[in-house]
């Protein structure tokens, strides 16, 4: 690249690679398996790539329906992953996956269950039957269930929650209201955990996977026929059409008020400023990511300058986009703050955010965009990262082909787009909700003061 020798070498390398690639490399296409599963495939035929990743997502309403035990999905995935199958004990499964350099994972959120497996293609015949058994026919072993339940019980009933964790519990009470989703996300009802049974897990398992996945993506060293066969083997006969959990999700209730969780015995204070963000559409996820980094990323960002450099109130501040579900998003600015500087910090956060939203300094934007683009390109070399990226695009309602332009999308974001997004989608300062927690309730004289997260509703209209 920087010398004739190097340039020649790269050309030779690229030319030579054509011998080990074909024209399907990283071409994204849609297929239907023999059993009828629709899936998205991106073969990777590059030299040394032998892995295959299958990533799926099932929409789920379990955590959104009243009368369901909110602990069961979490217990269920742990039992599926650790308890073995009807044919193989847990240790043998773990050893087989390790020996074959393979893995599987499954996890739950408020509205989706995510599952993913990866294996070298030459071990597909060894690994897929076991992964299929784990998915379709887990052993549901009572002893393993008891072990997992007791572990969760200790964690849930322990006295380990930090000031920050308690403040976020309070914030979710406000944002989600008294809903099943709140019970799932806060995980504080130990009676419910104690009452969960292995039969509940079996019910959850059969109910959740009775529906076809909302997205299935296959990437790596595999062709369409083999990918379809692998999917059929993993999931067996397809069930009903995917659920739509959106109608069960209430909009986040973010009110322009200040709530302080008074905890006299703790040693430090923390602050969280929350604003509503709209669901992801088109390329807005990239613009939003860029925006929060312009505001809070790095030592000279407006947020860092205001709170740490100028005020000296904290070691670190964070700004993030919190997804409470796929359709419920919030802007969250937070950090631990020196107790005596809580009010000044709150004011400085609001002031710096207001200035950023209305008149941002966008000069660092091309540099940030280039870094994000680099990161996307680097991540997408990986077989598994590629599968997760494409799955995410599909769940956002985007074209899977956008995988190929995600990096350049970052670089194409204009200042006009950014300014418009900040104005039209980012929350106005007078809509922000402020949470504080700590030992001194007088730091926010105007706040609604509570002493337990469950009291948060008393502060709301």
């Amino acid at each position: 690249m920087y010398s004739p020798f190097r340039a020649a070498f790269v050309c030779i390398a690229l030319f030579s690679l054509t011998a080990c690639k074909d024209d399907t490399n990283r071409v994204i296409s849609q297929h239907t398996s023999t059993l009828g599963y629709e899936f998205t495939l991106m073969p990777i035929t590059e030299s040394r790539v032998t892995d295959v990743t299958i990533a799926a997502a099932w929409s789920s309403d379990w955590m959104l329906q009243t009368g369901r035990n909110e602990w069961v999905p979490g217990l269920g995935v742990d039992v599926m992953l650790t308890g073995g199958t009807t044919d193989l004990p847990p240790a043998d499964i773990a050893n087989l996956l390790e020996e074959k350099n393979s893995w599987g994972n499954i996890y739950v959120t408020s509205d989706y269950i995510y599952g993913e497996v990866e294996f070298p293609n030459n071990y597909a015949d060894d690994v897929l039957p076991v992964l299929a058994d784990l998915f379709q026919r887990p052993a549901f072993d009572q002893a393993w269930f008891d072990r997992i339940q007791s572990q969760r019980m200790e964690a849930a009933s322990g006295d380990e929650k930090t000031v920050g964790a308690l403040m976020w519990d309070a914030s979710r009470v406000a944002l989600l209201g008294n809903t099943p989703q709140l019970a799932f996300q806060n995980g504080t009802d130990t009676d419910a955990l104690r009452s969960a049974t292995l039969d509940d897990v079996k019910t959850w398992h059969s109910a959740s996977f009775a529906y076809r996945p909302a997205a299935i993506v296959v990437t790596g060293a595999i062709d369409a026929q083999a990918a379809g066969d692998a999917i059929d083997q993993l999931f067996a006969a397809p069930g009903a059409a995917p659920l739509d959990p959106k109608p069960l999700l209430s909009p986040l209730d973010i009110q322009a008020t200040t709530i302080f969780l008074h905890l006299p015995e703790v040693e430090k204070s923390t602050i969280g400023v929350i604003g509503l963000l709209p669901p992801i559409t088109d390329n807005s996820a990239g613009v939003d990511m860029l925006a929060i980094n312009l505001f809070g990323g790095g030592a000279d960002s407006p947020l860092f300058t205001a709170i740490r450099t100028d005020l000296g109130a904290t070691y670190r501040m964070g700004v993030e986009i919190a997804p409470y579900s796929r359709s419920q998003r919030a802007l969250v600015i937070s950090g631990e703050i020196e107790t005596d500087k809580m009010a000044d910090a709150r004011d400085a956060i609001i002031t710096s955010y207001t200035a950023f939203r209305t008149a941002p300094d966008l000069r660092p934007m091309p540099d940030f965009a280039a870094r994000f683009a680099d990161s996307v390109r680097q991540d997408n070399v990986s077989v598994s990262s590629s599968a997760f990226t494409i799955r995410e695009l599909m769940l956002q309602g985007r074209d899977p082909q956008d995988y190929h332009v995600l990096a350049s999308d970052f670089e194409a974001i204009t200042e006009v787009q950014m300014q418009a997004r900040l104005t039209n989608a980012f929350p106005a300062s007078n809509t922000l909700m402020v949470f504080g927690a700590g030992p001194d309730a007088s730091v926010f004289p105007e706040a609604c003061v509570i002493t337990h997260p469950s009291q948060t509703t008393q502060c709301l209209d």
Partner: protein, 453 residues
């Protein structure tokens, strides 16, 4: 609702132990280039002409826009003869000078203090390489700061201590075991300091420590990005105002920690935890007759054997054959270039006492170390070799390893060297290594119960 990140035996954490950074991978074109360059070319290039630096490494990467530059001084908290934590405070003050030594700010900058080293990092545009180097070498210029800023930064260091240490019930337990295994040696020093020592920090102390530790002749520069070694050489050659040392440097080597042949065992109760825990820590001197790559390879195979679910492992009898340990986690780290530190934590299953957990863990660990299964050794060794071979981006793996080596003051071995050492490691050599671990230089055990059950 639960955090299993610290539990290596929790199954919904991926079972694939990806070689560090192996799948972080490169951009498409550059990634292909790396594949064809072969293993020797994946190693960082050490420049012969290093200017005022002790050493300079270049990792040419075509898959990133910016140049990442890191400058490491081989002095950390273990070298600090003054108040505990002062090395970290000094790093804060110096970092402020580095990031603001220019007109365009320092958004993409960072700094770190470890027990062994202090590092400053900048990431900037390729064309700014000369300016980037000037900023980094400003870290060796006389430390300047306004008294007000120095005081405020002392408060920030306290905030950082609160952020990292408060509300962590086990923090003091680990500090206590540091004292138990390292005694009063420099190895027991706390990098963050303590609330009491932080209040004593002042600018004059920091300046004195700076003069003795921040000298470029002791420092190593690592450059990673879209540059060639020639680019870096030119940028170094253009520097004509190298800071002049103002004091004799402190010794880089640190005296050995004390030998304590008696096991330091204690039981205690801790507020704020809900689960009983076993902590086992041991220190060891380096293994005679094994090279550094051999020792790292043996270490990796041993950890693989511990966490295998086959017969002969540590996890199998404790977590699968019987419900004794609900979770087990362990690590074996290098202690600078002088030795090894082993740690293990475990939580008991229901109905299992901490004494039973400790007894059974010790028994199975001793069995594994004294007579590791030869078949399991071969299997884990093969798996490790397969993972070296399937690493899609060994250049990136090497870059991470080089960085870590300077943070830890360890030797650097390339991925190819480690693979070769793993391939050549015999069972007899491995058993020499594991038997060496049965005779620790110092050891501590803590049986921790929650205050509230």
């Amino acid at each position: 609702m639960t955090d299993g990140a610290a539990d290596r035996s929790t199954p919904n954490v991926t079972r694939r132990r990806i070689i560090a950074g192996g799948l972080m991978a490169a951009g498409a074109t550059a990634g292909l280039t790396h594949l064809w360059l072969g293993s020797n070319s994946d190693a960082p290039v050490a420049l012969r002409e290093t200017g005022g630096f002790k050493a300079v490494y270049v990792i040419a990467r075509d898959d990133q826009t910016n140049v990442d530059a890191a400058l490491f001084y081989p002095y950390g908290e273990r070298h600090n003869p003054m108040a505990e934590g002062l090395a970290h405070y000094l790093e804060h003050l110096v970092w402020n000078n580095v990031r603001t030594a220019g007109s365009d700010g320092g958004r993409h900058s960072n700094a770190l203090t470890s027990p062994n080293a202090t590092g400053y990092m900048l990431s900037r545009a390729r064309d700014d390489l000369p300016q980037t180097l000037r900023r980094l070498i400003a870290s060796a210029s006389p430390l300047q700061s306004s008294p007000d800023y120095a005081r405020q930064e002392r408060d920030i260091v306290r905030h950082e201590y609160d952020y990292r240490a408060l509300e962590k019930p086990m923090w003091s337990v680990w500090e206590d075991t540091d004292q138990a295994i390292f005694g009063d040696s420099a190895y027991a020093r706390r990098t963050l300091g303590t609330p009491a020592t932080i209040t004593t920090f002042d600018l004059a102390q920091a300046q004195a420590l700076h003069d003795q530790t921040h000298q470029l002749a002791q420092a190593t520069l690592i450059i990673k990005g879209p540059v060639t070694p020639a680019d870096v050489t030119r940028a170094i050659d253009a520097i004509d105002d190298w800071p002049i040392p103002r004091a004799a440097p402190l010794p880089v080597s640190v005296p050995q920690w004390a030998e304590r042949t008696e096991l330091n065992l204690a039981r205690s109760t801790v507020d704020g935890i809900s689960t009983p825990q076993l902590i086992l820590r041991q220190t060891h001197l380096g293994v005679p007759n094994l090279t550094w790559p051999q020792m790292i390879s043996a270490r990796d195979i041993l950890l693989g054997m511990m966490f295998s679910t086959q017969a002969g492992s540590l996890v199998r009898p404790l977590r699968y054959d019987a419900f004794t340990a609900r979770t087990i986690d362990a690590g074996l780290h290098t202690l600078s270039r002088n030795g090894l530190a082993f740690w293990l934590t475990a939580t008991p299953d229901q109905g299992i006492t901490l004494d039973t957990l400790y007894a059974e863990t010790s028994q199975h660990l001793t069995t594994l170390l004294t007579a590791p299964g030869a078949r399991l050794f071969d299997e884990i060794k093969d798996r490790l070799l397969a993972r070296y071979d399937s690493d899609l981006n060994p250049a990136d793996t090497n870059a991470h390893a080089l960085f870590d080596a300077y943070v830890q003051n360890a030797h650097f071995a390339t991925s190819a060297e480690l693979r070769a050492a793993t391939h050549a490691l015999s069972y007899a050599e491995f058993n020499t290594f594991t038997r060496h671990l049965t005779a620790p230089r110092s050891a501590a055990v803590r049986l921790i119960s929650p205050t509230k059950l």
